[in-house]
Amino acid sequence: MSARRIFARPARFAAIAPYVWMVLFFLVPFAFVLKISLSQTAIAQPPYTPVFDVTAGWAAIKQAFGALSIDNFRLLVSDDLYVLSYLRSLVVALVSTSILLLIGYPIAYGMARLPKRWQPIAMMLVIVPFWTSFLIRIYAWINILQHDGLLNQILLALHLVSQPVVWLSTDSAMYLGIVYSYLPFMMLPLYATLVKMEPSLEEAAADLGASPLHVFWLVTFPLSLPGVGAGVLLCFIPIVGEFVIPDLLAGSNSLMIGQTLWLEFFTNKDWPVASATAIVLLVLLIAPLLLYDRLQRRQLEQR
């Protein structure tokens, strides 16, 4: 029996505690979401019917089952508000992810080509804002973008505009906020992949006659694709369900699905519809989620 196998047995036991936790607090709750999504709203506590009372006996439970319906889902599909919300979320996520890739790749590449002793410092510099509160960073942008904020002050002082420009409550502000918050998520997987690539591969390509542009497109980029995939998914999936950034920075004429969900839940107190919204969102994201899981396993376990 090899040394690895000897370790494997006890190592597996370590999985028990986290496994139980995740089943209890991650998987099981989804069952609840599903159940509530099939229920109706009610002015009661909790604000939905039917309520499964375990003590009420089998007949009561059967009756409760009968009261479930897919009305909420019908609503989501038929009402424009929700359809538009989903579409908007997907579009915003796509656009943001593209911008993030365009901006993040050169920065990650620059970091990967730094002399080895500067790389940890560069890493730290990227991670520090990431660890700084996300909410704070959005707030920092509100500070700058507001009507009499720094940006307008500078523009007025340079006579580039004659009046303060409205920056907040626009889609541009939202995109700025999203790109700003998610940049480390795009850069870190990219950097991790680019830094593992030997520089001699790029030298060999140049030696064989490839111009710098060709070197990038034919050698560097293809080899960085796993990192690109991870970065893209790591950004796309959460952005679809974003709430805070669009809520604080975007206008209110069109809502992303995260905002819709929040509204249904906290303002309308319509838990069933909110749950249905969550289920549909989850279904939309299943393909990218599975893709991400595949990529993640391959990357972390390539040792």
Binding site: A3, A8, A14, I136, L285
Partner: protein, 269 residues
């Protein structure tokens, strides 16, 4: 020999990128010392907004709540995350491994509104009293995977022959792990704790869903204030949080630097 060259394009993109990342924060910090309430006027250096914060009891309570939740959830998350990392990196294949790793890493990408909503529904269905513990449980679930990623990465790069040597000298696998591996991954565990702590400190969405009356966290309070408009007191609070996190990061990297070179695998990653 690595002959990586820093071209001008690289240098420019790096400089611009970092400027973009840091400028808003720097501006925020500077404004927190602005004596004037208005953004347009610079009233000179002052600590008035910091004093305002310390007089605002609601804020202080929220801050204290956040710190407690952060510490508690980070500790549990790091414990469970380390166990998960050990299972995944040393456990080879086992039944349900795919499901396990899938569940573990899903919160990393899952939109927070979904996780928050689902946990709240669980708590409601089980009639749990919503407050400190529900938020802590929710944050633990969210941050466990981050701690696991950090520790698993370190476990993967450790030289396996160290554990083999320990076994050769008479330890059974568990003792070999405790006496040889564990000391070497402590920096990663600490880093994982720090990461979980800051993520918990920062979380708004999940805390909003899972908190109860009277147990608001700092982000929840900040958020409700921010919705009403920019207040200079918020600048001060944010600066203090940034300061706290900066201290945490410095400590983490010092710990990491002091112990990181030990046990690295000789083979290139």
């Amino acid at each position: 020999m690595a002959h990586a060259k820093v071209t001008r394009f690289n240098a420019a993109s790096l400089a611009l990128g970092f400027a973009f990342l840091y400028l808003p924060i720097v501006i925020l910090v500077i404004y927190s010392f602005n004596a004037s309430r208005l953004v347009t006027v610079w009233g000179g250096w002052s600590l008035v907004w910091y004093r305002e914060f310390f007089n605002d009891s609601a804020m202080i309570e929220a801050a204290w709540m956040s710190l407690r939740v952060g510490a508690a959830s980070a500790t549990i998350a790091t414990l469970l995350g380390t166990l998960a990392a050990v299972a995944l990196s040393r456990g080879e294949g086992f039944k349900g491994r795919t499901l396990f790793s899938g569940m573990l890493y899903a919160p990393l990408v899952m939109p927070e509104v979904i996780t928050g909503l689902s946990l709240l529904l669980l708590f409601v269905a089980t009639n749990a009293e919503r407050g400190f513990w529900t938020v802590t449980i929710a944050h633990t679930t969210l941050t466990m995977c981050f701690a696991a990623v950090v520790v698993q990465s370190r476990l993967g790069s450790l030289d396996r022959s160290l554990e083999e040597a320990a076994m050769d000298l008479g330890c059974d696998p568990v003792r070999a792990f405790l006496m040889v591996t564990l000391p070497l991954i402590i920096p990663a565990i600490v880093a994982g704790w720090m990461l979980a702590f800051t993520l918990s400190l920062d979380d708004l969405v999940i805390a909003s869903f899972t908190t109860g009356p009277g147990s608001a966290t700092l982000p929840i309070r900040i958020y409700s204030e921010v919705r009403l408009g920019v207040k200079p007191e918020i600048n001060a609070i944010c600066t203090m949080v940034i300061g706290l996190i900066a201290v945490v990061i410095v400590v983490a990297s010092l710990v990491s630097k002091l112990t990181s070179a030990q046990g690295e695998s000789a083979a290139p990653l």
